[in-house]
């Protein structure tokens, strides 16, 4: 994943931390205190199509197809998450029970161009 400088126009992961205190939810979410609400945004020009920031081979396959066919395909490539991880939450449910659960695919770890 290209490192994300604030002014980077290209597809990359934008990191944002959300504190549950700021949501006013610290009375029922016991742990953790907050989480990374990262998201993917930025341009995916043709030469970056298929660059998932991890598996370059997929990128080179797409790139060769682009070269073999026309260099300016009609479709566009989008900036999407390519790796995500679960978030473990400890919270009080409406009956006052303490519940610990893993919320799958909650935190975006890597972004790439479709």
């Amino acid at each position: 994943t290209p490192t994300c400088e604030p002014e980077t126009p290209l597809c990359c992961r934008r990191d944002r931390y959300v504190d549950f205190q700021e949501l006013g939810w610290r009375d029922w979410i016991l742990q953790p205190e907050g989480y990374q609400l990262n998201y993917c945004s930025g341009q995916c020009p043709p030469h970056l199509a298929g660059s998932p920031g991890i598996a370059a081979s997929f990128h080179s396959a797409v790139f060769n197809l682009l070269k073999a066919n026309n260099p300016w395909p009609a479709g566009t490539s989008c900036c999407v998450p390519t790796a995500r991880r679960p978030l473990s939450l400890l919270y009080l449910d409406q009956n006052g029970n303490v519940v610990k659960t893993d919320v799958p695919d909650m935190v975006v770890e890597a972004c790439g161009c479709s």
Binding site: R16, V18, E22, L23, W25, D27, W28, I29, L30, Q31, Y35, L37, L87, S88, L89, L90, Y91, L92, D93, Q94, N95, G96, N97, V98, V99, K100, T101, D102, V103, P104, M106
Partner: protein
Amino acid sequence: QGAGSVCPSCGGPALEERALLLEIAKQQILEGLHLTSRPRITHPPPQAALTRALRRLQPGGMAPGNGQEVISFATITGSSTSTCSSMLTFHLSVPQSYHLHHARLWLHVPATLPGALYMRIFQWGPRRRHGRSHTLLAEHQMTTPGWHALTLPSSGLKAEESGVLKLQLDCRLLDGNSTAAGQPRQLLDTAAHQRPFLELKIRANGPGTGRTKRR
């Protein structure tokens, strides 16, 4: 976008980026927990009980797959003097169809315990025409004061439709000298931070669970 402009996609007032992010975070968390709105906690458990529960749930051991670990504090009804014939009621918020694969009842025995305590735990079934059925779940013997984790057969434990689970305690002293003074003694602690609680590991029965089991 500055205040006063209109959100291009939903037509509502454009939110500053931070406010938008907080809204997205709320939606993402509620969706991830399969909740439609945040829980309104009317009777939060005492802080000391919470601290113990967090310690219980802390060490690694995350519920496997789409599982949950639940600590449910008991509401106690029945005889006020001897908690040995108390009814423990638990209110679980379990998914429609779930598999319970681990259950332990935590009880606190006071330091003044005069001898070995013999305990039987019954589950009371839902109310029927001919009254409630009750099933013997487990028998335990406790000889030391402090916390005791009594394992219950997870296959036998089933909450009612409403999520209510009732356990009836039946205990007595083995050497029976508690009636020396003619009064039953407090053989179990049920004060706020020593309130009995259930520790459960639950897995929601997703569509694929059956296939996995068959495989």
